[in-house]
């Protein structure tokens, strides 16, 4: 099975861990410990620095992987609130749905333009190659006849 994008995977696993009764720091720590992608590694560093008392904005500035897209920044804001003791279950639920719809939209958009995009290699490479293979011997024997 293909893995989902890092933030989505982390979000889903964290929600499950929170439901199991763990604290946000414990849940996040458990989730990122089992993952090896760049996003999870950065999140691990973020968590350590946040627990050390640094500000979210300052940490994100030094970890470009975390601030690359709007969704990631939003997720960190929610996590920051959670680390401060606020209830974030509903926010995480909404964020998960948002992530799901944005991934679904990306797939849909890609699927819509895929047939058109596939025409390019077909017309530029594959069909000429097949035609050359079929017509090559014919042209060769025509030339030999002359």
């Amino acid at each position: 099975m293909t893995d989902l994008p890092g933030p989505m995977e982390v979000l889903q696993q964290t929600r499950l861990q929170l439901r199991m009764g763990r604290s946000l720091a414990g849940a996040l720590g458990r989730v990122v410990d089992h993952r090896s992608d760049a996003y999870s590694k950065s999140l691990k560093v973020w968590l350590v620095r946040m627990e050390a008392g640094q500000r979210n904005e300052d940490v994100v500035k030094t970890l470009p992987e975390l601030g690359r897209y709007g969704g990631r920044k939003l997720m960190l804001d929610v996590f920051e609130r959670g680390l401060k003791g606020a209830s974030i279950d509903d926010a995480l639920d909404d964020l998960e749905k948002e992530f799901f719809f944005s991934i679904e939209n990306a797939y849909e958009r890609h699927l819509q333009v895929l047939p058109l995009k596939l025409l390019m290699p077909l017309t530029l490479f594959i069909l000429p190659a097949v035609m050359m293979l079929i017509a090559g011997p014919l042209i060769f024997s025509l030339k030999a006849g002359f």
Partner: protein
């Protein structure tokens, strides 16, 4: 497609049969107003393509080869999909298992009882669930805290459904592109083998350096085209 393929193969066999019987062949030639002389004479088109009957055979056989390439690719892809489906069943099994648990709990049955009922007759479900790190943890937590189990399982089911939906989309996307690429490669191979076996002039064509160059160029173009198709078929980067 089956009809076109069969008609092409039938036409090939018909002309092969004709060529084995010279008398029938000459009669057939006369019927299509090509005299026996015309069939035998050597013209500027060489020995093979000058014969109208063989040109006919070549046309139908090439058509048949193209359809055969599609047929082979479709068979291979179907087999691959069936194999994947078999692998996917373990994911479905987990979803069915959780659905059953939730439904039983909604009906008022305790978690332990629901678990016992769901596993009855399907002991592999529990093994599947326990084999996965997170799922195993989840089940252990539900056992330890039965009062939280319903909410937890609902969240898990929601998450699994979203994941499965996205995986299905991902598979569709990559399979669509892969099918096109594989058909291109299969078409090239089938046409090459067919020409090699059935058309004597093709071997003369390959003996010439220009012929070899054309075939290598064709293979290179197919390689480039397939690579491009596979690249296009990759899912986009998600801006999350």
């Amino acid at each position: 497609m089956r009809h076109v393929c069969c008609s092409s193969f039938f036409a090939c066999w018909f002309f092969a049969f004709l060529s084995l019987h010279p008398q029938l062949c000459s009669r057939f030639g006369r019927f299509f107003s090509c005299a026996e002389k015309t069939l035998r004479q050597k013209s500027l088109f060489g020995t093979f393509y000058s014969r109208p009957a063989w040109t006919f055979v070549a046309f139908f056989a090439t058509k048949a080869a193209i359809f055969a390439a599609f047929f082979v690719t479709i068979v291979v892809l179907t087999a691959q999909m069936l194999l994947r489906e078999r692998k996917k069943r373990s994911g479905d099994e987990i979803e069915i298992f959780v659905d059953h648990l939730i439904m039983s709990m909604r009906a008022g049955i305790s978690f332990e009882m629901a678990l016992r009922e769901s596993v009855q007759g399907h002991p592999h479900r529990l093994i599947l669930f326990n084999n996965h790190h997170t799922y195993g943890q989840l089940l252990a937590h539900c056992r330890d805290n039965p009062s939280q189990s319903y909410k937890l399982l609902e969240v898990f089911r929601q998450t699994t459904r979203l994941r499965n939906k996205l995986h299905a989309k991902h598979r569709t996307l990559s399979l669509q592109a892969k099918a096109q690429g594989l058909i291109g490669v299969a078409l090239f191979i089938v046409i090459f083998v067919f020409q090699w076996l059935m058309i004597p002039d093709f071997r003369n064509f390959l003996r010439a350096s220009s012929g070899r160059f054309v075939v290598i160029l064709c293979a290179f173009l197919i390689f480039l085209g397939t690579r491009w198709i596979f690249k296009i078929g990759k899912p986009p980067e998600f801006q999350l």
